[in-house]
Symmetry: C2
């Protein structure tokens, strides 16, 4: 018998393009999905997708089921939201801080969507606070903090959102452009541009340069991504940024990107929340939509 599980799988498969990645998204193994879909295909007596292509291509039967999924799953989600409200957990506050300078890109659609669906929850990103966000979260001045470096604090839970790769942006004609990856040592000859924050909060240092004991030749800071890009493009330095923050500049061929080290430097972005708010239906919904929109909007990220 067809179940919602199958529809969810197919949607994940379409969005991911391969079984392996789809499996990550729904938090199952590749094998599980392979079996699941095989069962389904046998019962329907019809293949659902062509495996030999990248991304996978759906047969007519597969497309029909995807159509069904698109009709049905939103209805189901709306119903679940209504039920959560009926359960009585409707009041709430969601004030958040963002430690990640380029996160607004995907956070804004999430916030908009959320505001529509949970009008009773007061959602806000209060600007211009100068205190440390994580302690502020603990003392209930904030309700959610987007951060890439979780620090163990009592009562604080870190909910992984997605993993992303730190890439090194270099000028198009730069000597490192086109290399498959860059070694820490190579950066000893470069000017590194960063956001004006402590080095302990930057992955280039903590995960790449510090372990190798290397320091860049020179350091300079910039507030905004676009300024960094201008500096990089004009050959005044290099900078490390999340892959998704770079895609638009890469597409316009404004700069080039190289991986940091052979394996790349991968970090996880977290939503820090208080344990008490973790079960709240609107919080679960916010995290879910946050993940969904980030996967929809950003390229090159992976499930945590």
């Amino acid at each position: 018998m067809l179940e919602l599980r199958h529809l969810r799988t197919l949607i994940a498969l379409r969005d991911a393009g391969s079984l392996v990645e789809a499996a990550e998204r729904v938090h199952l193994t590749q094998s599980a999905l392979s079996h699941q879909i095989k069962d389904l295909e046998e019962r329907l007596d019809n293949p659902l997708f062509v495996r030999k292509t990248r991304p996978v291509e759906f047969t007519r039967a597969g497309q029909r089921l995807l159509t069904l999924a698109e009709q049905v799953l939103p209805l189901v989600r709306m119903a679940e939201r209504d039920l959560a409200r009926l359960a009585g957990n409707e009041q709430g506050r969601l004030h958040m801080a963002i430690e990640c300078h380029s996160c607004f890109q995907w956070l804004m659609p999430t916030v908009d969507h959320f505001r529509d669906h949970w009008p009773e929850v007061e959602i806000d990103i209060p600007g211009g606070h100068h205190f440390d966000p994580l302690p502020a979260l603990a003392r209930e001045q904030l309700d959610l903090v987007i951060t890439a470096d979780p620090q163990p604090l009592p009562g604080i839970h870190y909910e992984p959102l997605f993993r992303y790769e730190g890439l090194l942006a270099v000028a198009r004609q730069h000597r490192l452009a086109g290399k498959p990856f860059v070694t820490p040592e190579a950066l000893a000859e470069e000017t590194l541009i960063t956001y004006p924050v402590e080095h302990s909060r930057l992955d280039v240092f903590t995960q790449f340069l510090d372990p190798a004991g290397v320091r860049p030749k020179e350091l300079r800071t910039a507030e905004l991504t676009i300024m960094m890009m201008q500096l990089v493009a004009s050959g005044r330095g290099v900078c490390a940024l999340p892959n998704w923050a770079l895609t638009e500049y890469l597409e316009r061929d404004y700069v080039k990107a190289v991986a940091l080290g052979e394996k790349g430097v991968w970090s996880t972005l977290f939503a820090a929340i208080r344990e008490e708010t973790r079960q709240a239906p609107w919080m679960e919904d916010f995290l879910r939509t946050a993940r969904e929109t980030s996967f929809a909007v950003l390229e090159g990220i992976k499930p945590a």
Copy 2:
């Protein structure tokens, strides 16, 4: 996680009015449904229906899920139909005979519905054949026969549709009216009106009178239910009919009904089909909708 299974259960529960009957409809035990719904309620943190009422009464949460089910399940069914078509089993013929004089009432809506959804399948109820329907089914002159007395024939499968009770219709002022049930012996004093068919095909004889060795004082036949009702109402005899064939006359208080024996006489109505056509998706769909419409249209019947 919410699944279609839950929605199907809730619909069955609403249609049936009690867990016990709903369980019969979805072919599970009462216990299974009880557990299933309990799980759901716990996860939603909300009761779904009030158990102490008959029929059960749904809470707001339950109603919300029912709404969802009504939106979603038809979509799912349409998709399944499309998939069955894609699987290639689209051609078919469905000529049927009806051995049961009062079946048109529920069969017609079924046929109409089916014609809409399977335009490629030729559906018909050829009239005026004088041959025995079951052998005609075996030799492929027919594809489906509605009958209440299955006879073992090679290659013929009897698919139970529903169970119904045979009731004795008597005039309002008749001496038996108002009794909880009637004994076979009591019929020895009555004129029994039947359809003009062999007695071996009438449950009153096979299940009630013959076992007790009783014969009615007199016998007469009538072609149509309405004629029988007129004879009964005017005190010219009594007649045994399925409970659902009587409801409209009972509601208008045209005649009264009494059960046949303490336990009542229950029969099962079958759809006789050839084994080969049993798996055909349109056949499965026809049987499903036949069951559905009969439960929707007829009162007092039970799942087989």
